[in-house]
């Protein structure tokens, strides 16, 4: 069944998705977030995805950089299913969340399909010009048992969440692209 669903998903994507190159230099994401890129990325656009912008180096589902810009109080951090189409839990941002709760929210979102998440590190950092959080994690993907590594940055500004999360297979790909994801995260600026 998973195979059938995957094929259908691929077909759906092949007909609707588009990929645009994100050139090096300064890039705005949403109204209040700007980042600077040292290397070019690919921006995946497709109907029904969001609220994060999805960037990739190797193509989905190999690696993905999720950029959240201005998630409001009560807004889910993933695509929500239509009412009645299933009972998967929604993971929504609350403006009063503490850093560990923000990390837990991303953990919940990333494990909705039964994947296994392990928090490796959670620390305070400066992100987007203010006090934020950084976390490292490992993820065992349920659908294919692939072991991924990931990093995430986040900060709440004026009640809105800004975050950048990158993940890729632990072997080869994470070490290849994590430095670029770190550089983008460290370059983030949030308009106050």
């Amino acid at each position: 069944m998973k195979i059938v669903l995957t094929v259908l998903l691929m077909l759906a994507f092949s007909g609707c998705a588009s990929v645009a190159k994100v050139e090096t230099g300064e890039r705005a994401v949403g109204e209040r977030l700007a980042v600077t890129l040292d290397s070019a990325w690919n921006h995946i656009r497709a109907p029904g995805i969001g609220p994060a912008e999805i960037w990739t180096m190797e193509g989905l589902p190999v690696d993905q950089l999720l950029i959240y810009s201005g998630i409001r109080d009560g807004q889910a951090i993933h695509v929500e299913r239509a009412a009645g189409s299933g009972s998967q839990k929604s993971f929504s941002f609350r403006s009063g969340m503490q850093p560990d709760e923000i990390a837990a929210m991303f953990e919940g979102m990333l494990t909705r399909d039964g994947s296994r998440f392990k928090l490796e590190k959670l620390e305070p950092v400066t992100f987007g010009g203010g006090k934020g959080l950084r976390f490292e994690y490992s993820l065992t993907r349920k659908i294919d048992n692939v072991q991924l590594s990931g990093i995430g940055y986040g900060r709440v500004s004026k009640g809105e969440l800004f975050a950048i999360v990158y993940m890729a297979p632990r072997l080869t790909f994470f070490s290849r692209h994590a430095p670029s994801a770190e550089q983008i995260s460290r370059s983030a600026r949030i308009k106050e």
Binding site: G96, Q98, E107, E120, L122, L133, N145
Partner: protein, 368 residues
């Protein structure tokens, strides 16, 4: 379920052990497909490899399966959902979400017996042939050739639910196997009654496609009723609750953590309420409920979380995270000395915690 108790008295005999079917047959193709799946499962990082727990559950399966024991291979899968299933080649999966939810060995035996019932009645093959007989599918699959067709059919068959009749039959066989193995059949109905509590707690009251078992099975209400009727026909037997608790204790904290992470707050609270009612002094259960309240953070949840954390501490043997939760609530309430003390205790108990750098920053904020 008029046929239930009467059926149970007919002296049903399990079939003889199955012989591996020829690969050229549809059943052979199905086995081949399942063997590939079993190879994948054997290597899966989600498989629990602890030999003591695996042997323990395998032994329960063997007691139920009787002479089919050598053909039943149990795999414990770390996934926090209520599910078990059995493939026609003898591969059985038992998920940790099921093991968290059963109160004793007899309740697990009820679910495993049901799955062995499907296996003995070869219901998967029936499903495969049912799908195959559909003309539209037949024409479509004919394009794929024989080998491809068998594989595709198996995939398609897995998308189809067992029929209600097959489910009833598996329930009946399962009850017979339970009795033969010496388990109290009354426990079978309790499995579904307990699950109903969780389902009813859901905000949408949806019976739930959250559990793979619900996607294809009769409603828990009707199942509970049916099983109760079957059990009434022949009461008595053991539950082995103490043995179950003892064997699963080393894994309980991890399974509770997985349940908390699911983010299904209402279901988890209903589950933990039931577990606490059964064993009130178990700090892990009380902590788990408090953690869910804290993460939900609605209405009076933080007060409820605080009370649970404090109870867990008073029970003794609480998880270190209990103190982290206490610290977080105190911090939110600007009760800085209390926050600092709780975070300090957390780090004393879990100095290598991955969130230690963040917790230390909280403590610095709180001052001395």
């Amino acid at each position: 379920m008029a046929c239930g108790p009467a059926f149970a008295q007919t002296g049903w005999q399990a079939p003889a052990r199955f012989v591996r079917p020829e690969l050229s047959t549809d059943e052979g193709g199905l086995w081949s497909l399942m063997e590939r799946e079993e190879t994948r499962l054997r290597r899966s990082p989600f498989s629990i490899r602890d030999p003591r727990l695996r042997d323990y559950v395998q032994d329960i399966a063997c007691r139920l399966a009787g002479e089919h024991c050598p053909d039943v291979r149990v795999y414990l899968v770390q996934t926090p959902l209520f599910n078990a299933n059995m493939a026609p080649n003898g591969m059985m999966q038992v998920w940790t979400g099921l093991m968290l939810r059963v109160d004793n060995e007899a309740q697990l035996a009820a679910v495993m017996g049901h799955e062995i019932g499907h296996y003995l009645a070869r219901h998967s093959l029936e499903r495969l042939r049912d799908v195959k007989s559909r003309a539209a599918f037949g024409q479509f699959l004919g394009l794929l050739g024989v080998a491809g067709a068998v594989g595709q059919l198996a995939v398609l068959a897995s998308a189809f639910a067992y029929s209600r009749d097959q489910e009833r039959e598996a329930d009946q066989f399962g009850m017979i196997l339970m009795r033969q193995a010496g388990y109290d059949p009354v426990e079978a109905g309790k499995v579904w009654a307990n699950l109903l509590l969780e389902i009813k707690a859901r905000p949408d009251g949806d019976a739930g496609r959250n559990s793979p078992m619900f996607a294809s099975h009769p409603s828990p209400e009707s199942r509970q009723e049916t099983l109760q009727q079957l059990a009434d026909a022949s009461p008595g037997g053991v539950t082995n609750e103490d043995a179950w608790r003892e064997r699963t204790r080393p894994f309980m904290r991890e399974w509770l953590t997985d349940e908390i992470k699911r983010g299904q707050h209402e279901e988890s609270i209903a589950l933990f309420n039931r577990m606490i009612a059964r064993v009130p002094s178990q700090a892990d259960f009380v902590y788990a409920r408090g953690e869910v309240y804290r993460l939900r953070a609605r209405g009076d949840d933080l007060n409820a979380a605080l009370a649970d954390y404090q109870t867990a501490v008073s029970c003794g043997g609480e998880p270190p995270e209990t103190h982290r939760g206490l610290g977080a609530i105190h911090r939110q309430r600007n009760q800085l000395p209390e926050a600092r003390a709780s975070f300090q205790r957390y780090l004393e108990l879990a100095p290598a915690a991955p969130d230690a750098p963040m917790i230390k920053s909280y403590m610095e904020e709180a001052g001395t």
